[in-house]
Symmetry: D2
Subunit: 428 residues, 4 copies
Amino acid sequence: MDFRELEREMIRTRRDFHRYPEAAWTEFRTSSIIAERLERLGYKNLRVGRQVINPDAVMGRPSEDEISEHIKRAVMQGGNLGWIKEMNRYTGVTAELDTGVPGPVLALRFDIDCVEVCEDESSEHRPVRENFASMNTNLAHACGHDAHAAMGLGIAEMLIARESFLKRGKIKLIFQPAEEGCRGAYAMTQAGIVDDADYFLAMHIGGALPTGTFGVNSLGYMATTKLDAKFTGVPAHAAGSPSSGRNALLAAASAALAIHSIPPHSAGKMRVNVGVLQAGTGRNVIAPNALMKLEVRGSTQEISDYACSRAVEILNGASVMYGTDLELIKTGESLTAQGNEDLAQLAAQAVKNLNIFDFIFDSTKAGGSEDAAWFMHRVQERGGKATYMALGSTITAPHHNGSFDLDERAMLYGVRAMTAIAEAILNN
Amino acid sequence: MDFRELEREMIRTRRDFHRYPEAAWTEFRTSSIIAERLERLGYKNLRVGRQVINPDAVMGRPSEDEISEHIKRAVMQGGNLGWIKEMNRYTGVTAELDTGVPGPVLALRFDIDCVEVCEDESSEHRPVRENFASMNTNLAHACGHDAHAAMGLGIAEMLIARESFLKRGKIKLIFQPAEEGCRGAYAMTQAGIVDDADYFLAMHIGGALPTGTFGVNSLGYMATTKLDAKFTGVPAHAAGSPSSGRNALLAAASAALAIHSIPPHSAGKMRVNVGVLQAGTGRNVIAPNALMKLEVRGSTQEISDYACSRAVEILNGASVMYGTDLELIKTGESLTAQGNEDLAQLAAQAVKNLNIFDFIFDSTKAGGSEDAAWFMHRVQERGGKATYMALGSTITAPHHNGSFDLDERAMLYGVRAMTAIAEAILNN
Amino acid sequence: MDFRELEREMIRTRRDFHRYPEAAWTEFRTSSIIAERLERLGYKNLRVGRQVINPDAVMGRPSEDEISEHIKRAVMQGGNLGWIKEMNRYTGVTAELDTGVPGPVLALRFDIDCVEVCEDESSEHRPVRENFASMNTNLAHACGHDAHAAMGLGIAEMLIARESFLKRGKIKLIFQPAEEGCRGAYAMTQAGIVDDADYFLAMHIGGALPTGTFGVNSLGYMATTKLDAKFTGVPAHAAGSPSSGRNALLAAASAALAIHSIPPHSAGKMRVNVGVLQAGTGRNVIAPNALMKLEVRGSTQEISDYACSRAVEILNGASVMYGTDLELIKTGESLTAQGNEDLAQLAAQAVKNLNIFDFIFDSTKAGGSEDAAWFMHRVQERGGKATYMALGSTITAPHHNGSFDLDERAMLYGVRAMTAIAEAILNN
Amino acid sequence: MDFRELEREMIRTRRDFHRYPEAAWTEFRTSSIIAERLERLGYKNLRVGRQVINPDAVMGRPSEDEISEHIKRAVMQGGNLGWIKEMNRYTGVTAELDTGVPGPVLALRFDIDCVEVCEDESSEHRPVRENFASMNTNLAHACGHDAHAAMGLGIAEMLIARESFLKRGKIKLIFQPAEEGCRGAYAMTQAGIVDDADYFLAMHIGGALPTGTFGVNSLGYMATTKLDAKFTGVPAHAAGSPSSGRNALLAAASAALAIHSIPPHSAGKMRVNVGVLQAGTGRNVIAPNALMKLEVRGSTQEISDYACSRAVEILNGASVMYGTDLELIKTGESLTAQGNEDLAQLAAQAVKNLNIFDFIFDSTKAGGSEDAAWFMHRVQERGGKATYMALGSTITAPHHNGSFDLDERAMLYGVRAMTAIAEAILNN
């Protein structure tokens, strides 16, 4: 295997994805290119879009009109038309490499969506300088999922190259849409994607770890629920007939203040945030509408559930206070996650043997929430083992910041590490 | 009739009542002295306390323990023990003067309770200087009901003196408790006190009118409802277990802000106020209790009802928001009031004939609300006529202010005016 | 004068303006067509755009980029390129008809901007059925200024036709931009547009008056100030580092609640409204920005000023509370207005003589606010006389509603009325 | 030493203090009895009240009138008149036992104030049954400081009895007032009370530990600041002249909501609480006053300071919003505390040697805040060592609950433990 060539190809792929970022549930171009490449590599059992997603379990999906717009853009930006059709208005790809010998089933998961953030347009930002900055307004791969997708294809290639070294079992590659907002993993687990998996691995690039380091067990992911709250009141001329209106703006304002005052929980860390509030139609009209985007998190499921139920109570109460209607939509959800210690140790040993990392951490501390928790829970509850790993890559700005960029050299390290771990698991 | 002697006696009476002010529903001393005097003057059909009040219609009454304490105080401050017993824990007095000849029934109403305000203790305040300031902490006759009661007794005396001039009909004197907070009149009307009245007159001393003026029709009284809202939450140590508490203080704070933002009404004047908020037990405890005293008013019944229903909606919603229990108690209520034009004209003519006023107004503008509206509505809905009059008396500070005092000379003017009008009505 | 032909032409003109509505400060197409028509009619002293606007007095103007976009659109939609250039990035037109004989100067004002509202697209809406509905997204002539502009041109034509009947003085036609939001009149008065006027007339079509009626004195316009408040906080990851953020969304929410609870004023009617609130960048980010659009109004200048100063105080306080920066921008302002009684009577007489109206009102009751107040104050403070008139026209929905349409027949009535009044003034 | 007799005496003493509880800064009876007993035991260097308190460093002291009332009560309830005079309106006592041989100075601290809570009056509560329930309304020893004071005297007695076993150094007994609300320790440290101490020990009875257990190092005390915020507005009649008022109730309500929404800190635990809010004078008056009692806490000083500065910012902002005046009074403050590991180990060994405890904990987890932190910081910053210990005693209800009672047998264990540790330190 020519690692230099593999690295160059991954960089090309990553930069292509970076140039055409697609947000949650709209990864039509990205998915179609992944499918095309996997097919070319000889992967079987290729399943895409509607085949890997349970629509009843989908949260936070754009409207059908928006989906149609995004499909058009994907085609115009060079997506594979055949695969896009096959996807049937949903995104995501899975593929399998089967040794043909009975043995463990290992699922490897790569998330592929971008973030809704405006990319830095200054020439200090390498994607601008080297001409692979986002072409899509207000969208950017500011979390590194472009590298995740590129590494997934790199691993796919490397596994084919090393197929003869795999003694038994099966590897399933999962390219997951809609990780941002914690939306995609649940819909994939509900389509049964990991129901046959004995092992599950996922990995995040960047974070606090510099290039040359690796962590085998990311701990501390918080359980979370994301909600949209829509208040609907009654418009009225603010000077002429104020008493005939029902003020959705004030209902939302009152709820926002109260949600931020949900008491902390004695059992651990809790977070709540009303991140977005959009209300009103005109300066001189009693505001008849308000949209609030909020999230709650807890270091345990109990705490997250506590915060969520308090928030829902507040939203309902505020709606009663102001005589508005309230619609609540769950747009995302994830769980706490706990990697299996023995699997993490096996991974650590396999990576150590590669002799390419300066430092390997038994565990690393995660912030925030991670959608992969759904896969981990599903595999673990069926008796399997899972771990979430951290791939060091020196970054230029915090994740989700418009100036985020990563050290592309880390991708080869990641591919080699994950392949080594996969071999260790199948051949164990 | 010796008007000088009558005036001196009224001043003595007014100052005695001023020294021993009694708040709503606790006018035991005042009522007993009124009854004693009316009996001595020869009035028949004397009814007191429980006999003139419908307990089921009583709003905003102190607890039975407090009532017991106030009865004790009344006795200690020189109340008539026999009459206090007869009152059976309620206050108020009515009496009748019957000509024996069939004719119109005229009800005259005087309110007798004080205000919960601390009287000015400086020597610039005449009650202090002349030694009739309030002996009862935080209570004061700062609205002039001491003069109203004294005038009621003055009229009672003058009517007896002029009994032979009354040709027909009957005069009913009503000494009403609990005008403050709009509580007493409703309970009296529900006891049927004015069900036989063809005419109703009441009068307020002071306001914006100087001594020597008189108004025969006070317009603009606002409909009002007074509410106490009690939020009950769950206490919890604020540092140790905040999530197990339910914060009544924040529920009340949120409700207070929202109540003050009830939109104005296009049909007229609206007022809302949360005047008092008392919440919490200790600095480091999630506040488990909150008491809020509020009122709404409207220049029409519809506006007052609108504001009240919005306030109740807000209180309920805030309680839902914070997971508290809510108890709502109506502690007072009154109506808009509209005097009968022809009765007012008759009164104006009668008063003009006395030749004692510098100026007589066809109508005057009232602020706030007035409990007598209940009597007026009751009389008018049965086909009778009513008006609320204004007796000029130069005052030293606004009503309800601790430095309020009035010009006692106005009392004689008031007594002569009302007696003249009464004669005109009965002899008409 | 062929009134049928004049009416047909005004309907054509009105429908053309209706099809291409332009919002405040962007009336480039409209202004250029007006200028072109006035020039063709032979009007002198034609001044446009930058020549009639004092840029230092402009409130609520779009950004220069937006202005450029609107100029492009105006050209593409058939605006007169020469006049657009002459306008120098500002809008509005004035023209004069001078008898050459010394005498009174009469200013007639017509407002020409549209409303930012989405026009009804159903076939029940006549503009849709008859194919003159708005071509510009979210813009519509839902207040009748299309008719105002068409009538202005109609009057211009009729004045030329009747020029020989005008004995002395001068008529100045003012086509004012940006009436919506109370922005344009102030900038025109500050350019001295009415500094030579002895008389001022303006007129609104529609309202509560049916076709065939006319009012010569609209009373009750409220003084108003429009503000944009921009809070700028500090973004932070809501889970990772909440304490490093500064929450602009909560600052705005807190301010909104407080602004709606500004106490009513005892001296008259007050209105406040926070009509729009837009805050936040993403669900999981402490919101670093909030834009609030608000307005205050008062039935007197004092009340409006009171409400405005309280609102500003609240906005500043909320900014302190949440540690944000605050930028306040006045985007509009108007005054109360009081027409001159004698001018109104002169107008009533002139209109009565036409014998075309079923009913002429001495005064009518206005709701809301009206930008023309600036002109009226300016003329009156220099000793001139002004009145604001009401032209009945049966409408299909309230003003500013997407389904608003008017009875086009009223336009001829309006033109004849205003011409008659103008003649009466000049020939008086 | 007869331990049975010592125990009986401590129980008598504790129950006497329990019957006459005195709140922070009013422990005149308690202090005087302690001084009397220490004098009788032969202690030297007895200093009391004003001699041990730096008045400039006193927080949260009642008014001088209230102090006078409490002094009267102390005398009436059997306080020692001579010592009360000597105290000069301040409370607290210190005394010394000096071996005369140069050596370490050890300070032992006992807090003596009660809690402002109403004691359970049911017969299930032992103080009621056995007749030592609180005689002082709304005051109770519901935190065990009665036992602390009794143990302090027990230790005083035992040290005298074992004086010959003390080889060198000096023991200073500190009876500290005003621990509740974190007020007294600071004022004592600022009087220099522990400036000569090389070692410092304090101990709390009860908590989560059952009788027969002991902990030598209580960890996790939170830094805290207590504030009173007084808003002063302008009263106005709510119906007649609302616009002339300034609403302190709404200012406080707005601040309360915002204070509870201070974002959590990423560096550790934060707590804020507005525990008490009292506002307004009457239902129909714009509330001119509001008193808010609040506290903030943090698991580090930085976090507590962060929360405090945010709260102050909010209070100032709310005051600006509503045009009120604001007065802020710091009524209490404490620090985080960290016991010295080696001193704790020395203590553990000394206690183990007694062989009277079933279980000895190296460290225990504290909740809330503890005033002794001031002493610990002062001693440690001068190079000394300190630890805060936990004395197991099975309790009947949580601390600060009206039903709180403790297992009095634990007092003897505590006295023996602390005496043993003291000997170990001096003789080390």
